[in-house]
Symmetry: C2
Subunit: 283 residues, 2 copies
């Protein structure tokens, strides 16, 4: 149960960590934060959505935390927990935000102190800009929150994570296994970024913006991409992601053939199927 006196600690006060802080503060929770960047901590203290902050892993702050949100990139998340978990009080619940779970969740849970618990979470929300100054709780409202329970988790810990998703304002909270999560994220999130980048960089025309319509803008919005975070995610999720990419390329190849062979019936049938499936996504 998360209540107004629960000490929430956010490690990594970036776009997502900052957005969590704003949302939880608005919900009346007690939020503190640790981030290497003094500007981030100073900004959040000034804005008032954290009650205390530190630019170093303050032992007292960490020791008092009851619910911890690791708002860090996957590799950094693993190393931070490895280095500082000895400072947590027994019974502390940790959650994260990383976009890939295999190679992160299982790794951490294998060295985590037995009296601590980490429940993997993935807030399916974001913006193409970064940092705490761009954080906003508005990104959670119409989005999906995924909780990734494993054998290392208790039902109580899982329920608290689900409660966290609801508290943040997510419209939908789902449970997936590590394998399911990585496969699905490979498809709906990572492959889409690969497509956007390829579309953006396969044509050198300097004046495309004069001729473009909304479809091109829509497909390339996410071509504005954080190179550090995404290159790491793609490689960490290599196997499921490349499988999804191959499936997509194969389908596009089939469509190419239909056009080449002027198979109108085949195309129309496919387009009707596409239209019907897309209707499932309209909110």
């Amino acid at each position: 149960m998360i209540h107004k006196n629960t000490h929430i600690l956010i490690v990594g006060l970036g776009l997502i960590g900052g957005s969590y802080a704003r949302a939880l503060h608005k919900a009346g929770c007690h939020v503190e934060a640790i981030d290497q960047n003094p500007d981030s901590i100073g900004y959040a203290l000034h804005e008032g959505f954290i009650k205390a902050g530190s630019t170093r892993p303050d032992p007292e702050m960490i020791g008092q935390a009851q619910l911890v949100i690791l708002g860090l990139y996957p590799k950094v998340e693993i190393e931070w927990v490895r280095q500082y978990q000895h400072l947590f009080a027994p019974g502390t619940l940790l959650t994260d935000v990383s976009g890939v779970k295999g190679g992160v969740l299982d790794v951490i849970q294998n060295f985590l102190r037995p009296d601590l618990e980490l429940v993997g979470c993935h807030p399916m929300a974001g913006r193409e800009v970064y940092g705490v100054r761009n954080s906003t709780d508005a990104i959670f409202g119409a989005a999906n929150f995924i909780v990734v329970p494993t054998d290392h988790n208790t039902e109580e810990g899982i329920q608290t994570a689900i409660e966290l998703g609801a508290l943040l304002g997510f419209s939908k909270v789902t449970r997936l296994t590590i394998a399911q999560h990585d496969e699905i994220i490979g498809f709906v999130s990572q492959l889409t970024h690969l497509i956007a980048v390829s579309l953006m960089t396969c044509n050198e025309d300097e004046n495309l913006q004069n001729y473009t319509g909304d479809s091109f803008r829509d497909l390339t919005r996410i071509a504005r991409i954080n190179e550090n975070m995404w290159s790491e995610l793609f490689v960490m999720n290599k196997a499921p992601l490349l499988a999804q990419l191959d499936a997509f390329q194969a389908q596009l190849g089939k469509l190419r053939q239909m056009i080449d062979q002027e198979d109108f019936d085949g195309m129309k049938e496919l387009f009707r199927r596409s239209t019907a499936r897309r209707a499932l996504f309209d909110r």
Copy 2:
């Protein structure tokens, strides 16, 4: 010059034809329409954005037209002009809206009466719904209008087409040759639809909408696709379109290789380039 007494005739009162009618009526012009569908004509007369309408090619209406907008699919456009051009008065200016110019503009201009003129236009605007009841002049505001002059056109005819684009409210009017138009449209408009459809249909998971984020929705908005219009456009623009598709697939293949080989430097360099190019499109 288009003025308030210019008799404008719209042949084909669908989404685009209807949107033209609304915009031109709002600008104070005299607009009439011909469409096979009595409901479309009745609706537009009732709403008041056309002054007269007919469900058949009324000779008097056609004979009085000074500026004609052919709001028809490419193949229908060709046949309609072939069948009814004899009804136009000398000096009538025709324009169209078709999404492909090669195989349409050149074909028509080769059999068009010498005392008539057709200036090819492409309003780069649309919606995923169809029909006059969904038409709206709001779709032109932030969009691009392309005029496609050929050797068959006079400078006066071209200027009138440019004026039409401005009158409709387009934020940008550009001139392209048939070949340039079809190559660019193959890339920014048609390829994007092929990608969206392939993404929508390459994964059979029934519950994707529970896990999706904005990136997937954005990339598949246009997966809701009019199967008749688009299959026709793709085949008519086959050569340029398949060339663009191959370039896209090659780039995606290079990215696949970078992930497989864990080439972080290569990926980051590509992502920075992608981000820089995307910035050109922000309005």
